[in-house]
Point group: C2
DNA sequence: GTCCGTATAAAACACTCGTTTGATCAAGGC
DNA sequence: GCCTTGATCAAACGAGTGTTTTATACGGAC
């Protein structure tokens, strides 16, 4: 019944400015960032319900109560973490989208658009101490989730930029009905998320021949495949 | 320290023969099957770590100890459940694969193969009291998982039939290097699993215009898209 | 009748969970 | 000096975890 005494400290990034760089070997990463890093790793590896706050705070080297102190709850921690990691991806996407243009000596528009959409998702999302695949796996997890909270988090983070690309691709394929573009865009999301998740299933099928993981290799395989799919004639 | 006193009852299907059909309105579904149904629903909706045995057994209307009595552990319950639901899918796949053949008046071989691979996954996997999307979501969850146990379960259930299709598709695309076929097969798995998961993301982007869910509609959109992708010229 | 193997039931076991509570410590203002 | 403020801490809260144990009921075999 008691009212929350402290209504959650206001995040990290601004506080992070406190530690001046170069004042010694012990730079002391702020508590908030250490929690975010550890939580990203563990959530990605074992899911939200699969990791406890005690494990997260232990790995981050902070006190158990710090999560509720800074974020308010476990769910809010996930939300803050996801939005923070998604932001650079969507920003880079929009930047690359603005660079897409038809012209002599350039690839076709569709190829440019897919590359601009996919590359940031594959190459960004990493932070200090976290390998790139981590956020991809977390994203895949949330994408497969059916609970409203998780879907809201993903939609909130990615819908605007995604919709911009959907419109641009639709414009680049004028002969294709909008509904068809949406279906194929959905299929693209599937390949992207499944590849980012690094399920390892293709390795298990081919006994390790095919290793999706290196960004450039994956993109070089993915973009032509998807472009051909987008350009497939409509079947009536 | 104590040794397991009872080494797990030997499953359900054989026991299910005990209840003769038509001996009254109360047909009494066996305990094992009720557990499997409830567990499938709940695991699919909230993940393995997100549901407790108490909730499963309550929904199934059986005693808490029944899970450990019949399956041995929560993990073994998941494994039994997954293998049992996957079996009809792989069986139907292999049956359809055997029906694929080139000939006048038939679709091209690649279209036949993809249809044979995808349709059982979309249309089967449902059981008494469980809607079709349930197992698809569970499959998507396990596919995204990184822990060895879950990957082993998926591989064990689906690798043989999947490998058969990989070989058949490879044979149907003789001009394509094997490695390229494997990449594209991996992409196909992504679209399939993501669509089966019914993430609802495309609905959220298009504000409900595009509804993947009806089997025939999804297949009619998916097969041409994927076939075009498979037939894309190799770049490099 | 007893005996036996199977099935269900209730209770307990030893933990772990997310969250909250006070206490403590270090600065900064005045 | 005191007071305040933000941060960290150990400890406890109540509820929930998977699993095991003990006990009880049912049903044929003999």
């Amino acid at each position: 019944m008691s009212v929350k005494r402290i209504e959650t400290r206001k995040m990290g990034s601004d506080l992070a400015a406190m530690d001046r760089p170069g004042e010694g070997p012990g730079v002391q990463i702020p508590t908030v960032d250490r929690i975010l890093s550890a939580a990203a790793r563990l959530f990605a590896a074992r899911g939200m319900a699969g990791v406890g706050l005690r494990e997260i705070t232990a790995e981050a080297g902070v006190n158990l109560a710090a999560v509720n102190y800074y974020f308010g709850s476990k769910e809010k921690l996930l939300e803050a973490l996801f939005l923070r990691r998604a932001q650079p991806i969507t920003a880079e996407r929009m930047r690359l989208l603005a660079c897409c243009a038809e012209g002599p000596g350039r690839p076709p528009m569709l190829e440019q658009l897919l590359e601009a959409f996919l590359r940031p998702a594959f190459s960004l999302g990493l932070e200090a101490g976290v390998d790139g695949a981590t956020f991809g796996r977390l994203r895949a997890r949330l994408s497969v989730e059916s609970e409203e909270l998780y879907r809201r988090i993903v939609a909130q983070a990615f819908n605007p930029s995604t919709r911009a690309f959907l419109d641009a691709i639709d414009a680049a394929l004028p002969e294709l009905p909008r509904a068809e573009v949406e279906w194929r865009f959905h299929f693209m999301l599937g390949t992207m998320i499944y590849t980012m998740a690094g399920s390892g299933r293709i390795q298990s099928i081919t006994e390790g021949q095919c290793r999706p993981g290196e960004v450039d290799m994956a993109l070089a395989k993915l973009v032509p495949f998807l472009c051909a799919g987008f350009r497939a004639p409509v079947t009536g």
